[in-house]
Amino acid sequence: MNDTVKKIRILKDKIKEISQKDISIMEVCGTHTMSVARFAIKSLLPDNINVISGPGCPVCVTSGTDIETALTMARDESKIVCTFGDMIKVPSQGDNLGNYKNVKIVYSPLDSLKIAKDNPDKEVVMLGIGFETTAPLIACAIKAAKQMALPNFSVISMHKTVPIAMGAILSDKDAKIDALILPGHVSAITGRKYFDFIKDYETSGVISGFEALDIMECIYLLVDLYNNEKLDVINNYSRIVSEHGNKLAMDTMYDVFETCDSGWRGIGTIPDSGLEIKDEYAAFNARKKFGINVSEVLDPPGCRCGEILMAKAKPSDCGLFGKNCTPANPVGPCMVSSEGTCAAFYKYQ
């Protein structure tokens, strides 16, 4: 048996040993959602520890209005729409980006610059999705486009920032969240200190990596803090995350973007939780460049993802679950993500 396996087994026993009270621990990162599922973390924990998937997958929480905005670009064959992969299945009013041949999946925003250079007769529109992790990359792409004076490249910014949304969830008095697994990738950019604000909501957090051992250590630390009624924000991913983060990335992000209100699928509009392109870079803002104006697309009636994300309801409480909302035809973010709370519940019910 290797060291990691031994350590995980020891942690499993230790968590069981110290765990006394019921505790709900929320993770707020898509990769943590996947890791918790893939490493079967829940099966290693006693029943009184409840691990919930929060709104941590930026693709899953993209609003219908934002998808509709992207679709107006995709429906115009003279444009090429570049996006990260999993975005193409997010639904809006019976349509999704996967239905259009001129939608290209890219892995890096810089790929979309190359596509723009190679296709000078086409307008290339990059969908700017993600939290503090990807926003600096898109900011770099915009700055590079400005430097190269690329006339046919623009971005629809749908970026969101983590702290405001977490604050909105933690301040909801009905939400049953006792502790947070803090996102490792986002923290690599923002630094540990960025998350100190969660203590104002009487909640502790531990920044975690993505291996099974990382997550088990994180849960152990959170249970220990909770038992001892201590408040802290611990960096347990110090091999990647520093106290103050990547200043260059943060500066680049706020050089290009400014905060704006943002719509979250399943939750609604959260003031100041989004990032819009500053006027200085308006030439690269597709919304302005093409005068895109779509009317608001409301979340489908009956979707209870907002409550499920905050541990106020279970998937089976939702009238759409398993009928109008399935992994092949998802409605809300908890089903859009393949390991979201509803998708996992559907698969293993």
Binding site: V5, R9, T31, A40, L44, F84, G85, D86, P327, A343
Partner: protein, 316 residues
């Protein structure tokens, strides 16, 4: 055009039956007993990729399907739907690939058809093949036959084909050394059956990968199956791609692998036949409820299901 294509096909694939150009292929009766039949259409894009092409795929896919029942492939049909403007040089490469793969699999193409559709109405080339084979007496292999305590074997690395396709489609731009595994496997099954090795199930984990295929076997045989995380053979290149873009190798498509379920007494022979990358990845548990379980090295257990939709590169 038609003459050119027919000439090309005949030069490469001719045999006593195909050459007659009759409307139906007349063959000797194979053997008494049971026959197996299967068909599949191949619409892969791009048509050429590292490790193979649509030609190798359209023969391997069909003979591999036949051999899952223990059948020995006997004859294949081959039908082309060509898009007008298809490059003749590329077509020739594909026909030659069909010829060499059919030789490797020891099967003849006895009948065929070619249609040409207008430019823009196809994707270069679509191929349909249909195959028949005979099942030797006494052989009973099916996804309904998994029994408690059987070993679950995968005959090599998982996911190479799909990762090679993702690379060929330029969805990822990093350099990886991964080739498609597309290959005919019928000769290996034939060799095992000749040695009277007892096999309960054979399944080719194509679309949906190993996990979806095992879930289907669990449903058909109404059994619980547990696979072990630390036993799964994954090529380092495939593992890297999975880590970076968020794929699960258990759900990636294969075109030259089998899942073989057999009593533990047969395991050694199966592993020997398929070589060093073949591994025992799990066990069939009790019968009753259909469940697929995944056990981690540290004792975590989770349930797995079928692949619901295509895996997509994730940003987070």
């Amino acid at each position: 055009m038609h003459e050119l294509i027919n000439g090309l096909i005949m030069n490469n694939l001719k045999n006593g039956i195909l050459e007659r150009m009759d409307d139906s292929a007349i063959m000797e009766n194979m053997h008494a007993g049971r026959i197996a039949m299967t068909t599949d259409s191949y619409v892969v894009n791009p048509m050429f990729f590292r490790g193979g092409d649509i030609g190798r795929l359209c023969i391997s896919g069909t003979v591999n399907d036949l051999a899952t029942s223990g059948a020995i492939p006997y004859a294949l049909s081959l039908s082309f739907i060509l898009e007008e403007g298809m490059d003749i040089g590329e077509l020739e490469r594909i026909v030659k690939s069909i010829a060499s793969t059919a030789t490797e699999a020891g099967v003849r193409i006895v009948t065929g058809d070619t249609k040409v559709v207008e430019k823009g109405k196809g994707d270069g080339l679509y191929i349909n093949t249909c195959g028949i084979g005979h099942i030797p007496d006494g052989v009973d292999i099916s996804t309904y036959n998994a029994k408690e305590n059987d070993d679950v074997i995968i005959t090599g690395y998982m996911g190479n084909h799909e990762v090679a396709m993702v690379k060929a489609r330029e969805l990822i731009d990093f350099d990886i050394d991964v080739e498609s595994d597309v290959a005919p496997l019928n000769k290996k099954i034939e060799a095992l059956l000749k040695k009277n090795v007892d096999i309960h199930c054979i399944k080719d984990p194509t679309r949906g990968g190993v996990a979806s295929a095992l879930f289907e076997i669990a449903e058909h045989s109404k059994c619980e199956t547990t696979i072990q995380e630390d036993a799964l053979p994954v090529h380092p290149g495939v593992r890297s791609v999975c880590e970076i873009v968020g794929y699960d190798p258990l759900y990636l498509a294969n075109e030259g692998k089998y899942i073989i379920i057999c009593p533990s007494g047969s395991t050694k022979d199966v592993l020997l036949e398929f070589g060093k990358d073949a591994k025992v990845i799990g066990k069939v548990g009790k019968t009753g409820e259909a469940r697929l379980l995944y056990e981690t090295a540290y004792g975590g257990i989770r349930r797995m299901g079928m692949l619901e939709t295509t895996q997509l590169p994730r940003i987070c």
